[in-house]
């Protein structure tokens, strides 16, 4: 029954096909920026580009190993299949030091390579010493089940009287490093910007700096990536990346103006939905 091996081969071929297809299909690949046509293969943030290249390298290594092992497997099952009473009898042996050394050293070497190779990226994305020396964009406090976002007002300082308070609404400027301080007021949450490949747990009692940037203006998604309770799935935020600093300042000004409103709103005709 050597044809069974062809079935194994088929499974491997389909897997490799999916491998090869994924990068050219926006739906199958990692989440892209708002403007997909601008080359979805690349993440739109500088951290994202580094992380994606690590991802691709690991994908290549595992891909090569996968193909190699599958070829060996199919070859062995095809050619050494039981040939009936006339065939050579398989012999059994216990342990092979040489083989074991080989299959320990090769994966270990690959792991050490990956560990060393990614260190620079990890350091630039996570090490506090790598945090950009910029004025903080906001303080983001996760709570069940929303993101409470506090922007410094005119004075540029957080925790002062002129701060702007928002819920689930994160704004920053294209091409600039945005630095936030992440907190949690109840349980573990995780601040996740999929398109920018930024993910950081929010830990009660800690204030964690997180920084990110992007080269595409538009709307992004912020989600919670740590199961934090029954409403976890609803813990989403809107991210707006402004084209220019002026645009951002304008938004901030109008939001601050609304926050200091002391008169009844001008009559708004609530005609939506009717």
């Amino acid at each position: 029954m050597r044809y069974w091996s062809l079935l194994f081969a088929l499974a491997a071929i389909i897997s490799v096909g999916i491998f090869a297809y994924a990068p050219i299909s926006p739906e199958w690949w990692l989440p892209a920026g708002p403007n997909v046509s601008a080359g979805h293969l690349h993440s739109v943030s500088s951290a994202g580009k580094q992380i994606d290249s690590l991802f691709v390298i690991i994908l290549l290594i595992t891909g090569i190993v996968f193909i190699g092992t599958q070829v060996a497997l199919v070859y062995a099952t095809y050619f050494f299949v039981d040939k009936g009473p006339n065939g050579r009898k398989a012999s059994y042996f216990h342990g092979s030091q040489r083989l074991e050394v080989i299959w320990t050293i090769i994966p270990a070497a690959i792991l050490v390579f990956i560990a060393l190779y990614q260190m620079g990226t990890w350091a630039s994305v996570k090490f506090r010493s790598a945090a950009p020396k910029v004025q903080p964009l906001a303080q983001v406090t996760a709570r069940q089940f929303q993101w409470v976002i506090r922007y410094p007002g005119e004075d540029g300082k957080l925790e002062t009287k002129d701060d702007l308070f928002m819920v689930n609404d994160l704004h920053f400027v294209k091409g600039k490093q945005a630095l936030i301080y992440l907190k949690s007021s109840d349980v573990l949450h995780s601040f996740f910007l999929p398109a920018l490949r930024i993910k950081q747990d929010a830990v009660p009692g800690l204030t964690i700096p997180v920084w990110f940037d992007t080269d595409q203006a538009g709307h992004y998604e912020l989600v919670c990536a740590e199961l934090c309770g029954w409403g976890h799935y609803k813990m989403r935020g809107n991210v707006t990346v402004h084209e220019t600093q002026e645009e951002f300042d304008q938004w901030l000004q109008s939001a601050l103006k609304e926050q200091s409103r002391d008169q009844v709103a001008a009559v708004v005709t609530g005609s939506q939905g009717r």
Partner: protein, 464 residues
């Protein structure tokens, strides 16, 4: 199990998994539950206990007006909702059948499928606010404060006056888009579009109307003799409905608009606001009693409410009131005793009598029980405590206009009274400025005891 049967089971469950949630918004039957007033004897509200015929009559009237089931919505004529419950549900009755509702966007002419207020409510709100809006959804038992029971038609955070007015659409929209900070009521801005929020507002108003009409009808029916064959009349029903509908329609005209612009938050204004908060009378203003409820240090621990420690034991640790009071009294006694052994402790450690608390257990228990029953309950009968104003978290919003509304016209159904008749607008703005400054300058109330004494003594001296 035969292999055919197994195949049917497997294929069946796979196809269920694939299709099961297709029309999730409207899947399954759910039905309105009767309010407690139908069959249970009530303490302070009318009830229909032991009057099955009248119960049936009220149920029928409600079904005629609002539809028998959440999925079969009717809207009473003249209620302000589009005929046939359009937009409340995503189906519309056409002739004998139903069809999906499509909404054409005014500016783009694009056709959008309407989920409908009911569908949205079921997806986003029902698990807290419950099927009939009684605030009794499955999640509610884990929450403090409890989700709003819409059926009384009372809403806490409104821009309208006088007493227990309906909110405007804008008020409801603000609550739903921004949530109520410091409570579990979430902000829905990121989850729903503007038109969806309008639809869900419609549905909240619909449930609130239904609940209020239910209450009105029960009040009427409670006065009717249980064997009266006429029961409740068509006029009764119409009247019950009309008062409710008219109240909702009048709301936009009841918005309170401050007569003066906000005073600049200068040092003087903030300090004036503090003194008013502590009870000082200025000019044409009357002395106010914020500290009775909010406490001298605005921690939300005023004497009109049960002690914070007891409140926490009852609400968060689910102890009975009596146990909580007993435990607290014992704790106070222990604190008192250990204070005596400290140098300068107020007991002085002289005679054995002073190791007793100044107040007997019975007096203590009496006072705290009264405080709990009278003070620490809101109009819905749920535990209530005054806000801690040092945290900078405001349920109804932090805009000066929001705080103006809270102080000038109070928080409906939640004990916080209206002060618009006691304080002129400029003084309300002083208080607003003080409240907004307090979280950043806790020292403002450091010497609250002395200030309170001097501040409240002053007018007495001048009057003499």
């Amino acid at each position: 199990m035969t292999s055919r049967l197994r195949f049917v089971l497997i294929a069946g469950s796979i196809s269920f998994l694939l299709t099961g949630c297709g029309d999730a918004f409207n899947a399954g039957t759910i039905s309105y539950k009767d309010s407690e007033q139908f069959t249970k004897k009530q303490k302070d509200t009318p009830d229909l206990d032991g009057k099955p015929q009248l119960q049936e009559a009220v149920r029928k009237a409600l079904a005629d007006l609002f539809g028998p089931r959440p999925q079969e919505i009717k809207v009473p004529a003249g209620s302000g909702f589009p005929e046939g419950g359009r937009y409340l549900a995503n189906y519309e009755k056409v002739g004998d059948g139903v069809q999906d509702i499509v909404y054409t966007e005014a500016n783009s002419g694009k056709k959008v499928a309407v989920v409908g207020g009911y569908g949205l409510y079921r997806k986003y709100c029902l698990h807290c606010h419950g099927v009939q809006g009684a605030g009794d959804g499955p999640t509610a038992e884990f929450l403090y404060p409890l989700p709003r029971d819409y059926r009384r038609g009372v809403f806490k955070f409104t821009s309208t006056a006088p007493s227990n007015p309906k909110p405007t659409r804008a008020d409801l929209k603000k609550t739903i888009t921004h949530g109520l900070h410091g409570t579990s009521m979430p902000a829905f801005e990121a989850l729903m579009s503007g038109s969806e929020i309008e639809q869900v507002i419609d549905y909240v108003i619909f449930l609130s109307m239904r609940g209020e009409v239910e209450r009105n009808l029960i009040s009427i029916a409670a006065l009717v003799d249980k064997d009266d064959i006429n029961g409740i009349t068509a006029d009764d029903i119409k009247e019950s409905l009309d008062t409710v509908v008219n109240n909702w329609k009048a709301t936009e005209t009841l918005v309170v608009s401050p007569k003066a612009r906000r005073t600049e938050p200068t040092r003087e204004s903030v300090l004036r606001g503090r003194d008013i908060f502590l009870g000082k009378k200025f000019g044409t203003g009357q002395p106010v009693a914020c500290t009775d409820c909010h406490g001298l240090h605005a921690k939300g621990d005023g004497s009109s409410f049960v002690e914070r420690n007891i409140f926490d034991k009852v609400v968060f640790r689910r102890k009975s009131l009596d146990t909580a009071i007993e435990e607290r009294y014992k704790e106070l006694g222990d604190e008192h005793k250990s204070a005596q052994w400290q140098p300068g402790g107020h007991g002085g450690g002289h005679d054995s009598a002073s190791s007793e608390l100044p107040e007997t257990f019975d007096a203590y228990k009496n006072r705290e029980t009264t405080n709990w029953d009278k003070g620490s309950k809101d109009d819905w009968g749920n535990p209530l405590r005054a806000a801690n104003l040092n945290l900078g978290v405001y349920k109804g919003g932090r805009r000066p206009i929001d705080l103006y509304w809270r102080i000038a016209k109070g928080i409906n159904g939640a004990k916080m009274p209206a002060h618009g008749n006691l304080l002129p607008d400029d003084q309300i703005w002083d208080v607003v400025n003080f409240i907004l400054a307090l979280p950043y300058e806790p020292d403002l109330l450091k010497d609250a005891e002395q200030i309170k004494k001097s501040v409240t003594a002053a007018p007495a001296v001048t009057q003499r």
